[in-house]
Amino acid sequence: MAIQSTPVLEAPPVPANRLRDTLLYFRRNRPLIAGCLLLLLIVLFVVVGSIVTSPEDAQPLAYRPSQPPSAEHWLGTDRLGKDILAVMTEGTPQTIRIGVTAGTIGVLIGTILAFFSGYYGGVFDTITRSAVDILRTVPALLVLVIIAISVPGDMSVTEMALIVAALAWLGPTRVLRAQVLVIRQQPYVEMARFSGLSGPEIIIREMIPNLMPFIVAVYITSISGAVLASLGLEAIGLGPFEANTLGMTIYWNIWYASLINGWWWWWTPPIVVIVLLFVGLFLISQGLDEWANPRLRKSV
């Protein structure tokens, strides 16, 4: 090995005022800002909730059931006698945790599969591609239903996250693989190959950094998809019954027909938080898309 791996591409000259440029860019990228603000709003809500309530307030029979909002219980109490603000304070991070755990697993597996199958090709690529093509046409919720009913005993929040993660790698694998196929042909990757870098080195040192904005955008989409799947499963009644996740709150609302009983204070908080969460993630992923894919900038 005579040729040592010299830097293949010179780093572009660092702009004189990078911080200002970044700030200016953020100001221009409205969706990204709006999305971050919405998520911040949720964090704020949870912080306030955790100051005002304690976890014991979210236990069944803690208070008189089905009371409308009052000075004592800002969001009222539910049919089971839980303080709704305490339930939301506990459940919102749990649901986000499910989304982040499953989304992270999905993106990790997806990135590995996408880079290896996209870069090396061959039989492994054929298998990955066909698996993704076939599985992505299948209604994911129903496959998850079968996995979820197979979990013996009471489900925990972590188990819920793992169930959702079972299919969370499909989207990232498909989207990232397509990108890998594109950049594999780029001159800088070819140069790296000629200068003697090994496959894994090229993937880790050249390709992944270049696709980073893209991977982050896929990550956000994947979190949002995982939350969506977990909410769906929980609404059907396949969730962690001991937990107060947003989806379980929706489930109890359906179970006790809170809508027909006029307990609007019970079903509105989870819906508002879920809508904020989804719209926030959607806006962030749009903003990141624009960042990752400058060609879009013209049409925005």
Partner: protein, 335 residues
């Protein structure tokens, strides 16, 4: 050759059916659960008096059906055979009615709801998306629609809860639940059809509301792409009428990826529709699934999972096969 492609697609369809049956078989067995025992424990805990004949009948049917005394591979082959004949066994909750008869009652409701809602949202979304890109959309459409793009990020059934509250509880314009009025006996008549339509408006509307933005967004970006094509310039240079350019040149070409999108989105749509049905207690597959999950009715759950996966795969196969009719550029040749 076309035949090659056809065979490949049919093979893919069979493979999906096979995989669906296989996960149905192995997942519950891997965790070592016994649906019949679970059901009996549930009934006992509820203090329901289960007649010994009923229990004996259940267990006997179950054992005969799945041949639990046989080796695993025999059980598996039997199971595949049963699935291929749509024989999903009996419903544990509604013994002795078969799973397929329970599902047969629910499927028309789901198909009807889903088909109408999807067609409506696809048509409206596509037209509005095209108009938006064309720059001729009325002002109110241009102001309102971006909000719909964001709506498409929100799950259908949350939209359903909000709509139900506003239009059925606060202002009782529409019914609160069900597929038809409870005091009516299903019959084939004009007034009953109106009743069904009346009950389906809100559920359908919540699906449409959540989907329409998705279609508009897709169509808009395709129209933007198409507008840059040379044939558009040529059509304009020829002095064709605006409407002709819009429909025959721009929309005709931009709509093709939308149809692929329609096929690909089916899986998500049906998952969403299942949850919408639960919110509205609509008598379709979703409500049956909810009941089955509550009652540990494993065979019904497995039946639903298998049938829905199969029908989505079948619809995609059909769409794929008629696609060359819409897009003459596609020949299904092997490269």
């Amino acid at each position: 050759m076309t035949l090659d492609y056809l065979l490949k697609r049919i093979f893919q369809f069979v493979l999906i059916a096979f995989l669906a049956a296989t996960i149905n078989f192995f997942f519950p067995r891997m965790s070592g659960q016994d649906p019949i025992r679970q059901k009996l424990i549930l009934l006992q805990s509820q203090g329901v008096n289960v007649s010994s004949e009923e229990v004996a009948g259940l267990i006997e049917t179950y054992n005969a059906k799945f041949g639990l005394d046989q080796p695993l591979w025999r059980q598996y082959l039997n199971y595949l055979g049963n699935m291929a004949r749509f024989d999903f066994g009996v419903s544990i909750s509604n013994y002795p009615s078969t799973v397929i008869s329970v599902l047969a009652r629910a499927i028309p409701w789901t198909v009807g709801l889903l088909l109408t809602a999807t067609l409506i949202s696809f048509t409206i979304g596509t037209i509005v998306g095209a108009l938006l890109a064309w720059g001729k959309a009325p002002l109110w459409v241009r102001t309102i629609f971006p909000a719909f793009f964001t709506f498409s990020a929100v799950p259908f059934y949350l939209m359903a809860i909000i709509l139900l509250y506003i239009f059925a509880f606060q202002w009782p314009i529409f019914p609160l639940f069900g597929g038809y009025s409870t005091q009516r006996i299903p019959e084939v008549s004009w007034s009953f059809a109106v009743d069904i339509l009346y009950h389906s408006i809100l559920p359908a509307f919540s699906i449409v509301l959540a989907q329409v933005g998705f279609w508009a967004l897709g169509m808009r970006s395709m129209m933007v792409t198409v507008q840059g094509e040379d044939y558009m310039l040529q059509a304009e240079a020829k002095g064709l009428k605006d409407s002709r350019i819009f429909y025959r040149y721009a929309m005709r070409n931009a709509i093709l990826p939308q149809i692929t999108g329609l096929a690909l989105s089916l899986g998500t749509t049906i998952s969403g529709a299942i949850l919408v049905e639960i919110v509205f207690s609509y008598p379709g597959v979703g409500s049956v699934l909810l009941q089955a999950v509550r009652g540990f009715d494993w065979f019904v759950i497995q039946g639903i999972v298998f049938l829905v996966i199969l029908s989505v795969a079948f619809t995609m196969l059909v769409i794929d096969l008629i696609y060359p009719l819409l897009d003459p550029r596609i020949h299904y040749r092997t490269e």
